[in-house]
């Protein structure tokens, strides 16, 4: 019985790493931890894909607010989301009530010609009455606060837009790889 108990720890001791090996391993892990936590700048990455009046708000509100919290923010605009950065088109974003059961207009009526104009005007009036910031104000404010707006190059070409069509300060010539890099670095990633 005494042989059994003395053998077991002896065997474990042979397999177990030495104190020096453990110390080296701890050093290595501490270095990795320091490297991982070295960059304490918080980041947020948003992908904006929608260009209707209602869907233009969430990415801009979140971007400007995150910037106020001290986040480094990039918003990658692709497909219809590109219209938010388009200086002319951004002032003319539309709202459709087709397929939106929360709107007070039946689909059959909403599909009539000119109805998008009506619902858009209704929404614009509500925005004005409520003193909600306009899209242009939110973009200007976000740019002031250091938010980086990126316009997807593939979509610029697809939509036949020109780099000069966008607000001053918008980054062009970027693609999905840039977005992936930003998302990989970010603490918060959102697709809107």
């Amino acid at each position: 019985m005494s042989t059994d108990t003395s053998d077991a720890p002896a065997e474990t001791a042979v397999d177990a790493p030495s104190r020096a090996e453990l110390a080296a391993r701890i050093d290595e892990l501490e270095q990795q931890l320091a490297a991982a936590t070295d960059d304490d700048q918080q980041k947020m990455s948003i992908i904006a894909t929608k260009g209707t009046l209602d869907m233009a708000y969430p990415p801009l509100i979140l971007a400007s607010t995150a910037a106020a919290f001290g986040y480094e923010v990039t918003v990658f605009h692709t497909f219809w989301g590109l219209d938010i950065l388009h200086e002319e088109r951004s002032k003319n974003l539309k709202l459709s009530s087709v397929g939106n059961p929360n709107m007070p207009v039946p689909n059959a009526v909403a599909a009539l010609p000119g109805m998008d104009r009506v619902t858009t005007t209704m929404m614009e009036r509500k925005i004005e009455d409520n003193d909600t910031a306009t899209i242009e104000e939110l973009i200007d404010t976000s740019l002031d606060m250091g938010v980086e707006f990126q316009a997807c190059q593939m979509t610029i070409d697809l939509m036949d837009y020109d780099e000069d069509d966008f607000y001053d300060g918008v980054t062009t010539g970027v693609g999905a790889a840039t977005a992936i890099q930003d998302m990989a670095d970010a603490d918060i990633q959102l697709l809107v």
Partner: protein, 80 residues
Amino acid sequence: MTQYEVTETLDVKGQNCPMPVVKTKQATDQLDTGDVLEVLATDPGSMSDLGGWADTTDGVELVDQREGDDVYTHYVRKTE
């Protein structure tokens, strides 16, 4: 109650989310350490939003919040 002297006043009455927080941030950036910014807002959401912002953001501290009849007043100190 904490003692403080107001350095600057920011009037965001009538403005809505996200402007009270965003403009408060921009205003505190212009202040010196120790200065206290008074923020006048009518957005009821500013009570929670400005408190949350100040708690989470380095370099600022919410020293007081007052709920009036129509106006919500916030006092933010720049700490660094």
